[in-house]
Amino acid sequence: MSFLELKNITKRYGPMTAVGDISLSVEKGEFVSLLGPSGCGKTTTLQMIAGFVEPSAGTIRLDGRDITRAKANSRGLGIVFQSYALFPHMTVFDNVSFGLEMQRVPKGERKPRVEEALALVHLSPYAGRYPRELSGGQRQRVALARALVIRPPVLLLDEPLSNLDAKLREAMQFELRDIQRKVGTTTVMVTHDQSEAFSISDRVVVMEAGRITQIDQPYRIYEHPQTEFISRFVGKTNLLPGTVTAATAGGASVSLAGIRVDVETAGLSAGETVTLCIRPEKLRLTAPTQGLLTGRVADRYFLGSQWLYHIDGPLGTLMAVTPNDGSTPVETGAPVGLDWSPAVVRIHRGTLAEAPDPALEVAG
């Protein structure tokens, strides 16, 4: 039996369904992220776990106990809010100590525990400051220390890093994971930032329009997105509409606007409409006539560690990413060949909702 279990949880606001029939099991000590665009119901889900929103249907169990109708202040969960929600009129020490005080921890025991929590987030010298005298990153740590000091069974993080600047966000990602590993608290994080979700989670739950579309390890979500939505939302991708011409021994043969390519997906039948999905970093640039396709570099962008090319070809504009290995990049306007191995191609059955311009696919 899993530690935290959501079963058929639904939340309706009038006629609108914010969260529709989702089920999720989180193991003890696991770090799970709810990932999705805004309005997908991930925050509502977190609020139902926290007890701020009551589910319309379904049950939530924590360590075998049904907490679906339990009040927020009886659940004992540690929550880090997006706005941090620190108590502005209390010092850092008092902020962290508040939860212990509410749990009637004896005074003598409170001080060492607060100090321990502050040390964990490297804020010991700031115990006497007020929140408004701290930087964004420091406030974030106070919020984390405040949530961890009560030794909660589950730590809930609501977009914990979204208010930090890019550099700090990256540093805090690793620190967050580090602290979570050290403490071993079961953690559920809500985020719309896929790199955040991927880098620190054991498992990622992708949500779309109030439903869970995939629960998997970060690597598998990236490499094996189960829906076209996920392949677009998670990372950059080239989506190519095609038709299956024949099923072959190793997979199938697909025609993309007259160009025949092989894929390794089994179970496709001839005549079926499919969408091929190829990540930009899986495309290889070759000499003009040697690849599966020939195109021309329409634009190139320097991303520091990588080059991003937009390549015009018979299938429209494709994105390709190559590592910046120090060699001279291909010039804009130069002809170039594109090649890929059949193993990197993912197939979604059916046509695209609308033919997207790959150049505009900047999800994440």
Binding site: A50, K71, S83, F87, P88, M102, Q103, R132
Partner: protein, 305 residues
């Protein structure tokens, strides 16, 4: 009314001194822009105040009226006469009680209001503010009809066998009416500071196991203290200088400072005396409010900024 020292207009950001003409223009712009309002303020508020202060030092004779000379006699008689001291004390007692009751009623009212869903919130906000649309005099007469010997309350008491109770012309009546009139001035600033409150902060308190009451007392109340402070200052200031309510509901017996000023001017025709009482009221009011402001605000300045 508040102790915030307004920044001097000349405190504009310093520009390079060698860059003369634009710098001068930048420096004079705030002065020029604030001049119309400043002139209006000076003409309509400071001039009468100054004239009143001057008047309070004029000599007065009951036979010949006001004479031009300078005297401190009026101040001396006000400050030493127990009659006046009692009226001052009563005024501040009544105002302080009205302010305290406004805090007790107005703060929860604003909190409940901020928690309401949208159609109802707008409706009740309107209900709270609607009394401001009715003249204070009309409202005072309303209370005197309600509480009068033939009013509905006394009729009800008689019907219940309790008998008639004299409610008009007492401190209690004046306080009740003042609270009624002043309540919106408490609700509005508290409501404003509640609007600025991050709702997640209260949720955070709950998530750490605080009861709803504890969350309000420990987390919400300290943060809306500036709103309560400004509401109290407004209510106290307006109550201490209120004229219509004590004039109409306090009757001839229960005098407050503003009604005494009125009597001095219009019954005794002793304008200098009335002016002296008015100046003393203003001064006492200022001292009380500044002290209160300093004590409460100073306590929270570092925390809330």
């Amino acid at each position: 009314m508040t102790a915030q020292p307004s920044a001097a207009p000349s405190a504009t950001p310093a520009t390079a001194p060698d860059d003369d003409a634009p710098a001068a223009r930048v420096r004079s712009a705030p002065l020029i822009l604030s001049a119309p309002a400043a002139l209006l303020f000076a003409a309509l508020v400071l001039t009468p105040l100054f004239l009143t202060a001057l008047l309070s030092f004029n000599e007065f004779d009951h036979m010949t009226g006001r004479t031009g000379g300078f005297t401190l006699e009026h101040y001396r008689s006000v400050l030493t006469d127990s009659y006046y001291l009692e009226i001052f004390l009563r005024t501040f007692r009544v105002s302080a009680l009205a302010t305290a009751i406004c805090v007790v009623i107005g703060v929860p009212e604003a909190y409940i209001l901020s928690r309401m869903g949208n159609p109802w919130r707008s409706v009740f906000l309107l209900v709270v503010l609607a009394p401001l649309l009715v003249s204070v005099v009309v409202r005072a007469f309303g209370w005197s009809m309600l509480l009068g010997p033939e009013g509905p309350i006394n009729a009800a008491l008689v019907a219940l066998g309790v008998g008639r109770v004299r409610m008009l012309y007492g401190e209690g009546t004046v306080i009740v009416a003042l609270v009624h009139v002043m309540l919106p001035f408490m609700v509005i600033p508290v409501w404003t500071s509640l609007q600025k409150l991050d709702p997640a902060v209260e949720q955070a308190a709950l998530s750490f196991g605080a009861s709803r009451a504890t969350a309000i007392v420990r987390v919400v109340a300290p943060q809306i203290l500036p709103g309560i402070l400004s509401g109290s200052l407004i209510v106290f200031g307006l109550s201490a200088s209120a004229f219509a309510i004590p004039g109409l509901l306090g009757g001839r017996r229960l005098k407050m400072v503003a009604t005494v000023v009125y009597d001095q001017y219009l019954s005794d025709l002793n304008w200098p005396m009335g002016a002296a009482v008015a100046v003393l009221l203003l001064t006492a009011n200022l001292i009380i409010m500044l002290t209160y402001h300093r004590v409460v605000e100073g306590h929270y300045r570092r925390r809330l900024g």
